[in-house]
Symmetry: C2
Subunit: 137 residues, 2 copies
DNA sequence: AATGCAAACGCAACATTATTGCATTTGCAT
DNA sequence: ATGCAAATGCAATAATGTTGCGTTTGCATT
């Protein structure tokens, strides 16, 4: 399925801004910060980029991850999620050298033994260290 | 050991601001946001509060956790850590109702099976849902 | 107890990130 | 081709965090 269809299937209009962002996010399993994308789309208004990313998240096209330094990042949802709840229960890896964040789609989250009384709904797991490229150098 | 000694042992001067913040953080196992503390210490300057928290973190008196919404929170380090590296490898729980964050000191982090090439240094684990009080209601 | 000094503080200014309102433009169904 | 809701650009505003600097204060020393 091509990008335009993915966007339209979520009830969103197909625009150059949205096509561009989707194309970049689809190139790899990385999670991009707003600042990253702003550099790639210099002609796009900052506010438009915020709205594109928010709309994508609400539509379930992307998921949001908060980095250790509080920076919000967005990555493509590889699997098709139901509209009601889209879970991205995989581990994310944050490189301390190149500051890229990777979706480790194959590393799933364990179940934690939470004290009784607490009701767990979901969890965010962030492993940090050095990515393949940076640990080779 | 009383609070004043804990502060002075880290090479920091004992001041009313620092005593106040330490006392609040010591009351429970919760992680407080800057905004929370600002309400509790209305006479304290915002910048001073930022500096108190940063100094405490560098001294190893508190540890920093980023909430799911990107908000920075601080909690007391219960165990005494070495000055060089202070690990807080426990799970944190974020309540979606009251927005409090709790340190689950007894729930330790598992080891993840990261793809080869990636070098893991540490990890942040955040479980979210409803805390004891809120799930009872 | 008085002194001296580095550390801590208060205040103002600035930086970054994100949101909101509104007029204009555009995708797309008709 | 037309009409309209959705999307965009721009300006203003909010929230969060940092930096510089003059003043105050903790505390070691005398
Ligand atoms: Mn992901
Ligand atoms: Mn903690
Ligand atoms: Zn890297
Ligand atoms: Zn709660």
């Amino acid at each position: 399925m091509d990008i335009a269809h993915q966007i339209r299937d979520k009830g969103l209009k197909v625009t150059p801004s949205r096509l561009g962002v989707m194309e970049v996010l689809g190139q790899n399993h990385q999670a991009y910060a707003h600042a990253d994308l702003e550099l790639l789309f210099k002609d796009m208004d900052r506010v438009t980029l915020y709205r594109v990313l928010n709309d994508f998240e609400e539509a379930g096209l992307v998921h949001k991850i908060i980095d250790m330094d509080g920076v919000t990042r967005f990555a493509l949802c590889k699997h098709s999620c139901p509209d009601t709840h889209h879970a991205d229960e995989h581990v994310h890896f944050s490189c301390q050298a190149c500051h890229k964040m990777f979706c480790l789609e194959n590393v799933s989250s364990p179940v934690f033994n939470i004290p009784s009384g607490f009701k767990a709904i979901g969890q965010n797991i962030l492993v940090y260290g050095f990515c393949k490229t940076c640990s080779a150098a």
